[in-house]
Amino acid sequence: MASPRSQFIELIEQGAIPVEKIGDALKAAKITPDARAWRTFIDHLLLWLGGLALAFALMFFVAYNWNDIGRFAKFGAVEGLVVLAIVAYCRFAEHAVAGKVSLLVATICLGVLLALFGQTYQTGADPWQLFFTWAMLMLPWAIIGRFPAIWILWVALINTSIVLYYQTFRGIFGFMYDDETGMLWLLFIFNTLLLVAWEFLAAKAWQWLAERWAPRLLAIGSGVPLTWLVLHSIFTHGETSFLPGLAWVTWLAVMYFIYRRVTPDLFMLAGCCLSVITVSISFFGEHLLQRNSSGGFLFLSLLVIGMGAGSAFWLKTVHQELQS
């Protein structure tokens, strides 16, 4: 969706607005903010900055005195924060933003509480257990909260615990693949399932899922591990499994079908282009550069240019199609 600003720029570039009237036109088209908009902006800015300054002041003070604060005081403080945040959430039931912020703060304080617990009582727990427990405990709040940011936090926590788990153990698939690929497969499957669920629910059921940044992040979480798996199979000489390549091609086909035909989203398509370029360059690079040929470099250079230009052309075409 073109922003008012870019539309205005286009009008100027076509010469539709006389040069001497551009200043007035900016105001008429509401590109330049009027006094009311400025007032609101400065109001919010001062509020956020002042609030952040106070919050950071408190944190720095606590950090400075950390070693001198007693054990119970620390626990009491953090638990108090959690309770306060929940109370704030209940209080701000009508004000959407304040309520969301309060719930998010409560969730973060929950994590701080768990970390404090682990640090104080030296339970010997592994790092991944911290994140996993945190994710499980915050799940009810995410379900009640019903806004994308808190669910993305949950997804991030699960992803982190998966990564940390594989750093500690060999996983269930340890006998089939080595550590890294098992972790990548798990990440890919988890994030893809969530992406599918999210898009499906956003389309059929809940309006609050409609913000695009969240599924885009999930798509990144889905695409990056898969691309990495394919790169891994390219660069590892012992691997003869075609599974990553097959999964990758299937993923591309499905992404194309959904995000070109069903619910168009340029960001997803751009991400797919990036994945294709990366894999192609790696594939040809691996096979051509072994012999130290200068021609190989030239070919790769032209390949990147060609694929980059091709992607740009295609994406621009899709973009224009979406706008008309």
Binding site: A2, P4, R5, S6, Q7, F8, E10, L11, Q14, A16, I17, P18, V19, K21, I22, A25, A28, A29, K30, A35, W38, R39, F41, I42, D43, L46, G50, L52, A53, L54, F56, A57, L58, F60, F61, A63, Y64, L266, F267, A270, C273, S293, S294, G295, F297, L298, S301, V304, I305, M307, G308, A309, G310, S311, A312, F313, L315, K316, H319, Q323
Partner: protein, 356 residues
């Protein structure tokens, strides 16, 4: 034509600023992530091109004259290609060739400068500044403006004047963004240079923050003694903030004696003072102000991101203890919320505000 464009055209018609039917097609530039994709492809292509040149013509890298001539030819060739009406492939090819050519020229320049490394940086500025203005490609201009600003800082740093140029860069960037629509023929150019300068400013402030001790060590061992204290940079940027606020006030018909001018300027002054402690605060704020005044969400986002990074990095500053920092932030928080309270009482939301 999309509904939004229609509405905008209607508003302009009503204000008597345009006539007739709009010829706008409602299409616009591609989104930022597409531009990033293109920039990345250009870089990688340039990298592989250099690899090719390096392998095929090894002598070129060793001989600075040959490097200079070939690089110059490549840049010139790219310029020629970019001038003709473009398709995507040609545009990318030219970008890659130009980047590779620039690399060759820069290597040659530093070889020519020899032991006087700082002269090399000056030469880079002299190369990149004209390219930023002349090259007919948006991404290229952003890149050249960025490198020019960065190199200027390095050059002055080696002369013993680090952090000085931040104010200059901010001033230039502010001018670009405040006058973005004033010269319609040069709009693309001004905007690209504006983005490049803003990115350079963010990076330089970040460097100043992370390496305040490093800067002294890095530059003091070289040519001249350190003439400039680190906070001089912040004082200069503070002056630029005052300039920007003044310009914005003028635009809304508030001269120096307008009713909100004095509080606004005082507030700006307070923030600049705070920024001496919390490096980069003014930079982030100025970027946000410029972004908001032009309804430029990318700029606004950059400002917010930069501001958050600087405030978080304040934690790691080793000059003062956490207790002092805590006190500073407390005072700052109280002052900011106090200013907000003043704003709310002086200008209640419901009052008619057409002049202020």
């Amino acid at each position: 034509m999309s509904r939004q464009t229609e509405q905008m055209w209607a508003a302009l018609l009503q204000a008597g600023l345009v006539q007739g039917a709009s010829s706008a097609t409602g299409k616009s530039e591609s989104p930022w992530y597409v531009k990033v994709l293109l920039a990345l492809s250009g870089w990688f292509a340039a990298f592989f091109l250099l690899g090719f040149i390096g392998m095929a013509f090894e002598s070129v890298f060793r001989n600075s004259t040959a490097s200079f001539i070939l690089g110059g030819a490549m840049i010139g060739g790219a310029f020629a290609i970019l001038r003709i009406p473009k398709n995507e492939f040609v545009e990318h090819l030219a970008l890659a060739v130009s980047l590779a050519g620039q690399f060759l020229v820069v290597v040659a320049l530093f070889k020519i400068a020899g032991h006087h490394g700082h002269i090399g940086w000056l030469l880079v500025v002299l190369l990149q500044a004209p390219l930023a203005v002349v090259m007919p490609n948006f991404v290229h201009r952003v890149f050249s403006a960025f490198i020019a600003a960065f190199s200027l800082n390095m050059f002055l740093g080696f002369q013993g004047w680090p952090n000085l140029v931040d104010g200059l860069i901010m001033l230039l960037a502010a001018w670009c963004w405040l006058n973005e629509f004033r010269y319609p023929q040069q709009m693309q150019r001004i905007r690209a240079i504006g983005y490049g300068l803003v990115l350079a400013l963010i990076v330089l402030k970040g460097m100043a923050l992370l390496g305040s001790q490093m800067t002294e060590w890095f530059f003091s061992g070289k040519q001249a003694e350190l003439w400039i204290k680190p906070y001089i940079g912040e004082v200069l940027t503070g002056l630029v903030v005052l300039y920007v606020v003044w310009q914005l006030l003028e635009r809304h018909g508030q001269g120096i004696s307008g009713s909100i001018s004095v509080p606004a300027l005082v507030a700006a002054l307070l923030v600049s003072t705070l920024s001496v402690e919390v490096t980069g605060l003014t930079a982030g704020l100025v970027i946000m102000l410029l972004g908001f005044s032009g309804a430029n969400r990318v700029l606004l986002g950059l400002g917010i991101g930069a501001l958050l990074i600087y405030i978080s990095s304040y934690y790691y500053l080793l000059d003062v203890t956490l207790l002092v920092k805590s006190g500073t932030l407390l005072a700052a928080g109280v002052a900011l919320l106090g200013m907000r309270w003043l704003l709310v009482t002086m200008l209640p939301k419901d009052r008619e505000v057409d002049h202020v």
